[in-house]
């Protein structure tokens, strides 16, 4: 088991009971990074973040510094939107950061707002996170009183306002363009993107250039400014720098959030090391695990020694019929032991996508419903042999080729990611599907 010596960057305060208060934040070096950033030029702060090479922590893994440049090159006003609409199944890292270290998120956002010369910050917090919203609002009030937000921040001449904005319950609003629609008071319908010209960095909220960054990405910035981008880039390897939060859940002995150094740590470490997951529940063997949220193709025991790096996971030999690896996605790892029914697990995720599809694009709106109903039929014992081919056929219409990464058939990623759990389960556990159909019942009870 490898447990590296890397410092805790974003989770350093979580051991304190009062980690959410300004008092604790200031006592542990809070808002020093913002003061330091304000003495630098915006370009200087940007360069530091680019040196750090931090990839966005929301799921897509896009380098955070790049979209800043696109926005900077355009006329003002610029807006900054912090995506705290964490809804990917089994992902709970942003939830913890919003509740337990709100000042760190706000300081990161202020640094970003300065680096990209934004005129207003929107802190979009998932509607269900009632405590998260209260903590963020309380922290923002404290930050205003401290002079860290508002007019002439710390006497630097830089001014920016921030607003805590609640969501209202919709997975799709975690998609950045749907989030912008939601922020404009509309239904959360993702917008068509035409890179490189029409993306939120050029045409965002109110059609103005908008930087959209994830909560965890923001939480890394105070450390990067304090310690320098090079210190961050010295951790991890190649394309995946620094540390990252992973949420481990399901059949592990110690479910929870762990911040580990990227690439140097493997899935095996995260699931089995006593300081992390602590091994599999019930003394059973590992059956399969989901490496990066509901949208990612599943992995089996043969993938345990893969390093936790974006490229390493993407280029691995995965299980999908069309080939390709998987993704670290939102950083949530769901572990299933031998007692888990893979058909039931895949069905539940299929139903999740069917419920959360926004309904704009036909392959997703119709396809996710079909997959849900066919999977439910199999799981509840009414499946037919031809359902197995039908599942693949419907899946192939949503994500042609059944490979990873998938081609896009819809406006956003929700559609083509929805067949991933089913295709993985079918490929890895075909026998389980056959037993369900032949016995007319779920063998797991």
């Amino acid at each position: 088991m490898t447990v590296t010596e890397a410092p805790r960057i974003v989770t350093s305060r979580l051991a304190y009971d009062d980690s959410h208060t300004l008092e604790r934040y200031l006592a542990t070096g809070g808002y020093e990074a913002l003061r330091k950033a304000l003495t630098m030029t915006p370009e200087g702060v940007q360069a530091e973040v680019e040196t750090a090479g931090i990839l966005g922590r929301g799921g897509a893994g896009f380098p955070a510094g790049i979209k800043w440049k696109t926005t900077m090159a355009l006329p003002r006003p610029h807006y900054l939107v912090i995506n705290g609409d964490e809804s990917e199944p089994a992902t709970f890292k942003d939830h913890m950061l919003l509740e337990r270290d709100p000042h760190q998120v706000i300081e990161g956002a202020l640094i970003t707002a300065y680096a990209t010369q934004c005129d207003q910050i929107f802190l979009y917090v998932r509607g269900e996170f009632a405590l998260g919203q209260e903590r963020m609002q309380a922290a923002l009030n404290e930050a205003y009183a401290h002079g860290a937000v508002g007019r002439d921040i710390f006497g630097s001449g830089f001014s920016v306002d921030a607003v805590v904005h609640p969501g209202a319950g919709a997975y799709i609003c975690g998609e950045e363009t749907a989030l912008l629609e939601s922020l404009e008071g509309k239904r959360g319908f993702p917008r068509i993107k035409v890179p490189p010209k029409i993306i939120p960095a050029t045409v965002g909220v109110y059609s103005e250039p908008t930087v959209v960054n994830n909560v965890e990405t923001m939480s890394n910035l105070p450390w990067i400014v304090n310690n320098g981008g090079a210190a961050f880039a010295a951790m991890g390897a190649e394309n995946s720098k620094g540390t990252r939060m992973f949420a481990v859940s399901g059949h592990v002995k110690k479910p929870g959030i762990h911040e580990v150094e990227m690439v140097k740590t493997t899935f095996r470490d995260l699931i089995y090391a006593p300081v992390y997951g602590g091994g599999i529940q019930g003394g059973l063997e590992l059956k399969a695990f989901i490496p990066g949220g509901a949208s990612s193709p599943w992995f089996g025991p043969q993938h345990l020694d893969l390093p936790l790096g974006q490229d390493e996971v993407a280029q691995s030999q995965g299980v999908l019929p069309g080939g390709g690896g998987s993704m670290l996605g939102s950083g949530s790892i769901v572990v299933m032991n031998e007692s888990a029914c893979p058909v039931r697990a895949a069905w539940r995720l299929a139903r999740f996508f069917a419920r959360e599809s926004c309904g704009q694009c036909t392959p997703c709106r119709e396809g996710t419903g079909w997959l849900d109903r066919i999977m439910f039929r199999i799981e509840s014992g009414s499946g037919r042999m031809e359902d197995l081919d039908l599942l693949l056929d419907v899946s192939d219409n949503i994500a042609p080729g059944l490979a990873f990464p998938y081609p896009m058939t819809t406006i956003c990623f929700l559609g083509p990611s929805s067949p991933m759990p089913i295709c993985s389960a079918l490929q890895m556990f075909r026998d389980d599907f056959l037993v369900h159909i032949k016995d007319g019942a779920c063998p797991y009870g």
Partner: protein
């Protein structure tokens, strides 16, 4: 049926003032209306439409998209049991079954006495304490069947009133300042060519 009362109207106006575009205040205002009435009444939605220069249909259109906004009456306590993957693996459906029996209602239904509404929800991000549930969006983790029964007793006896406010009350912390840095510059640049999204970098400039 009620429009926003004076206190809520003041808060609504304060909320509208912090957004560059009025319509952005729509979801926060809908939460506000739910805080007042427990759900969204037709009158409240019409009032919000007036405040934001929208039609009631536009307000309804947005409200109907989101899971947390209710256009029909719900109980005093909205019990939301998670059954998504992490909870499924740790007994989420068993907990939901127990909750159905205990409350005597199926998910999506309010109990006869109008006190409890049961709901099956997607992942609410407390997977380290699966199976989990939320009551009026206040979270409870590692809920056993006995724990669920005790939770109902605690709710009804008022012991959890501080922690669990009535349904609709989301954020009890008020923003203390308006826009201290001043409003951002005009948000929509004047007169882009018709049919071109404003702000599109290659948009022809008006002559």
């Amino acid at each position: 049926m009620s429009r926003l009362a004076a206190e809520f109207l003041t808060r609504a106006r304060d909320t509208i003032a912090v957004y560059p575009g009025k319509r952005s205040a729509l979801i926060p205002l809908l939460h506000l209306a739910q805080e007042q009435d427990g759900y969204l009444t037709g009158d409240a939605m019409e009032h919000i439409a007036e405040l934001l220069d929208l039609t009631p249909a536009e307000v309804m259109g947005t409200a109907s998209f989101y899971d947390m906004l209710f256009t029909e009456k719900v109980g005093r306590w909205l019990v939301s049991v998670c059954t998504n993957i992490a909870c499924l693996l740790n007994g989420g459906y068993e907990l939901l079954d127990h909750a159905e029996k205990k409350l005597g209602v199926r998910p999506g239904v309010t109990s006869h006495d109008g006190r409890f509404t049961l709901e099956e929800v997607e992942c609410i991000a407390r997977c380290d304490e699966a199976p989990c549930l939320a009551v009026n969006w206040r979270y409870f983790g590692r809920v056993s069947n006995d724990g669920f029964d005790q939770l109902l007793v605690d709710l009804e006896s008022g012991r959890l009133d501080e922690q669990v406010p009535p349904h609709g009350t989301l954020n009890r912390i008020r923003r203390q300042v308006g826009l201290a840095a001043g409003a951002p510059p005009a948000t929509v640049p004047p007169g882009p060519a018709e049919g071109t999204p404003p702000g599109y970098p290659d948009a022809p400039k008006p002559t």
